[in-house]
Symmetry: C2
Subunit: 567 residues, 2 copies
């Protein structure tokens, strides 16, 4: 490819909204366009070459584990998503539209409904199982906030694999295969991805992992134990609740004065001159089951909504609004630990670590609060569960060491769906005895654009991208340096020879730009091997790796040999 003919060349500067390296470099290099609308990107020819290489790696590994490629639509009829309740409950809300006849459709963010529908019509007998299908296809997400370039977008290309099995054992076996295939994919792309325990939520199942790349640009947080190697995301991260004073004697419950201005846990702790962990926090949530749930938790901890929904066995929860509070006869800051009709009370594990809490029964109008509030004596909860969000410095539940919170990019997700969708949609097969059984399902995703951005986050320096060979847009970048006709014709000749032997080469043949610009563009674009033809190189070519400062003068034959070809 001659650079002069390339559609969409490098830019002098990245757009102002680009804050992280991958966003800046991909746009500056002309690999992607600036956002057409928030979180919606065009892949330009250079970027699309990288995407195609990533696609090839993924396709090879999916085929290697028996995945059969297919292609499903993006427009899904409303009725299908109503069967699983996700027409209403999907988070973030589905992008919905109507056709000319007024029929409702959504733009698919994922394909469980369509695939389970295929499964219930095409899988009849145990003889049809196991099988696995995948697609590489555009997905849509109605994100409120799309930032970080290709890391969080509203339209994106995803590889989604779905597998079907007779039983849990067979699903678990295949899950391990996919897990290993994912490790290979990320490794082939040059990334060291860490498998992290992830949220299973209402879907259930014992295996569920996210593949994370630790990166300061990552928008996800992972709790990591340096000692025992425990890793989990915020929505799953378990930690031991530090004991505060659980051996203390119970003191008598009493009303104490609390000025009505006191609103937050911080203010309370300061006023009562006690640490935050001695305060009792009550939070109202509305569940996707339509019920109100009051979570009671130690004052220093925060509730993780995903953990909460998972613990409740429902799809999602959202914070109670002023309207909800009013409906229950209370108001913000005054959710009591007991006596709220129509609400379901649950407690975090941390309640066991404290005796004589302050809080739980604020009456703002009377400027009163409880002191020495104690679980089981003064209030009761349905059960004590793990709904607190892990934090930097929390105690590892496995080994007692300290957990660290690290930023990470989620590269992939392997998910044991179990029988959730086959149950909801009636996907059954006849077993060997002729009995109908639910099909066991797994789903496994990788976002291709995010993977490309993650590679750039991991492989760049001040000058630009430093592509790993496996996904580089070209093998070699040839520069013609110098204004003489002789140099140009020599460079043309080298270009032709490289093409003839099958080297995938980008040739900077521009006559109207300086050597400095060409060198800077080569560093920015990050093709692994830079070749220079100039007056200085004579009959040789200058060879330089992007990730190394050393330059060498080589015969063309030797350069071609190093590029894995023969002259």
């Amino acid at each position: 490819m001659r650079y002069s003919q390339l559609f969409a060349k490098t830019l002098r500067r990245p757009p102002r909204e680009a804050k992280i390296a991958s966003h800046q470099l991909l746009i500056k290099g002309g690999l992607i366009d600036r956002a057409l609308s928030s979180g919606i990107y065009s892949f330009l020819p250079l970027g699309w070459r990288v995407m195609k290489k990533i696609e090839k790696v993924i396709r090879e590994e999916m085929n290697a584990i028996g995945g059969q490629e297919l292609f499903l639509p993006s427009l899904h009829p409303r009725e299908l998503w109503e069967e699983t309740g996700r027409w209403q409950n999907y988070v973030p809300p589905l992008l919905k539209l109507k056709d000319q006849h007024g029929h409702g459709f959504c733009l698919a963010p994922t394909h469980e409904e369509v695939i389970a529908d295929l499964c219930r019509r095409f899988v009849h007998s145990y003889r049809d199982l196991p099988s696995a299908v995948y697609q590489i296809q555009n997905k849509f997400r109605n994100e409120t906030r799309a930032t970080g370039g290709l890391l969080r977008v509203r339209e994106f290309i995803m590889k989604d694999l779905y597998s079907f099995h007779q039983d849990e054992k067979d699903l678990d076996k295949y899950y391990q295969k996919v897990y290993q295939a994912y490790e290979k994919i990320f490794e082939r792309c040059g990334l060291k991805a860490e498998a992290v325990e992830a949220f299973s939520g209402s879907i259930g199942g014992s295996f569920n992992h996210e593949f994370m790349l630790f990166s300061s640009s990552g928008e996800d947080k992972v709790a990591v134990c340096d000692k025992c190697d425990y890793k989990a995301n915020l929505e799953k991260g378990e930690f031991a609740r530090r004991d505060i004073n659980s051996k203390d004697k119970l003191l008598p419950l009493k009303d104490v004065y609390q000025p009505k201005e006191i609103d937050t846990i911080e203010q309370m702790a300061k006023f009562f001159k006690l640490p935050k962990e001695r305060m009792l926090k009550d939070v109202l949530y509305k569940g996707s089951d339509g019920r109100y749930h009051v979570v009671i938790i130690r004052g220093d901890l925060a509730v993780n909504e995903t953990k909460l929904a998972a613990a409740l066995g429902i799809d999602s929860v959202s914070s109670g609004t002023e309207v909800d509070l009013k409906k229950l006869g209370t108001e913000r800051g005054s959710v009591p630990v007991k006596g709220l009709k129509g609400a379901h009370f649950i407690g975090d594990l941390s309640l066991k670590t404290v005796k004589n809490f302050v809080g739980g029964y604020k009456r703002a109008s009377k400027e009163l609060e409880w002191e020495n509030t104690n679980l089981n004596r003064d209030f009761k909860v349905g059960k004590l569960i793990d709904v607190a969000e892990v934090y930097d410095g929390a105690v590892c539940a496995r080994c007692g060491a300290k957990l660290k919170l690290k930023s990470a990019i989620e590269l992939g997700h392997v998910f044991k769906l179990g029988t959730k969708y086959s149950k909801q949609m009636g996907a059954k097969y006849l077993d060997k005895k002729g009995k109908k059984q639910l099909v066991w399902m797994g789903c496994y995703g990788i976002g291709l654009g995010r993977l490309m951005a993650a590679i750039v986050e991991a492989y760049h320096d001040k000058k630009g991208i430093v592509w790993p060979e496996s996904v580089a847009p070209f093998q070699a970048h040839l520069l013609a340096i110098g204004k003489t006709k002789k140099t140009a014709s020599q460079a043309d000749d080298v270009y032709q020879k490289l093409k003839d032997v099958g080297v995938d080469v980008l040739y900077d043949d521009r006559q109207d730009v300086s050597a400095g610009v060409k060198f800077a563009d080569a560093d920015l674009l990050g093709v692994p091997i830079r070749l220079v033809v100039s007056e200085k190189t004579g009959k040789k070519v200058e060879w330089k790796k992007r990730d190394n400062q050393k330059t060498e003068f080589l015969n063309l034959q030797e350069a071609i040999r190093r590029l894995g070809k023969n002259l």
Copy 2:
């Protein structure tokens, strides 16, 4: 691939709604699923293999003419389409939706707006021209009526190429290249596509062709002259207006009695005992320019709306409604040839062929009509233009022979956009003299799913599909026939050897179905070469081509040699 492991196997019968061969066979063979919703299809593993082969052919030919592959989004912001006026005027109406913030988007049926936006930001100088980019990407169309399986759909994968040029001459040169590349693509897919002159419409430009496959299942009509080889679609087809009585003397205009029940041209002609061509027809249209246009045409001819819009230089026209007629002070059946304030009058070329028309000034309430109505004496029109739809048996405008109307499937479209979009969106470049010039553009599309269906329409028999080698889902289909363990193990062995040497083979290893079912499925799926291992074949394999009845017994080595591989 073992057939037993294939997701989505053949069906016993196609769905009732499938009327044409490709729709029936693709579904029955398990290549595509029945419609998820009208005009929305899933490609199952076998069908997706065919699509991937078609994609490869197209990609190779696009790369060969310097096309650079990229990938553009499907969600387009409203503002972009408002720049060209197509947010409102696109036909059929765009599929529109809103995001969480209430911003309007459409689902792209085509990408001129996005590509012209890229062009105005990335193409600066004559040095950046020419260039051509393409994508293979999902498109969306809000079709009212989606029928004929993959022939007319609402979501479809399309290859769309866009080219950018300094001037019309360079565009024309590239247009010819694409034209030839298209001929190669269809030829490689086994199809004899005919390039047909097509509607240029408001976009203008002298070159504009559709590539048509003549087929009884086609939903398009093409006028074909057997003598001079003229071919054009209905929206473009020109024909000579047969002279009726243009040499007659003008008779005096007069009012004649016409019963108020008379409503159609047929009724008029019968009542006046004259041929339809002596009747004068007046039709009201509303243009996308917001104006009313009255078309006056000979009674035996029909107006083609696309031709009319093109002749008027506007995007589209639609039939005047009762409301429109009322607004102009008239009613259905009584559009007069003169005196309608606010309407623009134009006439078809056919008006010149008749003297002394009947019609043009019906007053239903008085049961009166005009007789001996003559152009220029009794009424005037802005201009006489070609707006009549060509019909079977019309006279060829080029050679005077008779035109035939044939059914056809549109496989591709090459379109000279000229400077329409670059003007509307400001895509300019600096020429060698430093002067700003509009970029000349072309666009060129092929629908991949429709192409697959067209191949099936052209290549099938009573038993099923007969794939051309180039796009067959597999090279060979191996059947294990017989219930003995020995046969099964021999067949397994042949399968392994075929795979080892790189033959792309589907292996029907099913133990639970009869030989008859396997043979029928092989005929249905239409893989070019059928290989059988049975008790009868001994150490040989039975070789049969799908398009031939002859069977042969071959050594495996010879079979492999014929499949282009070496043992």
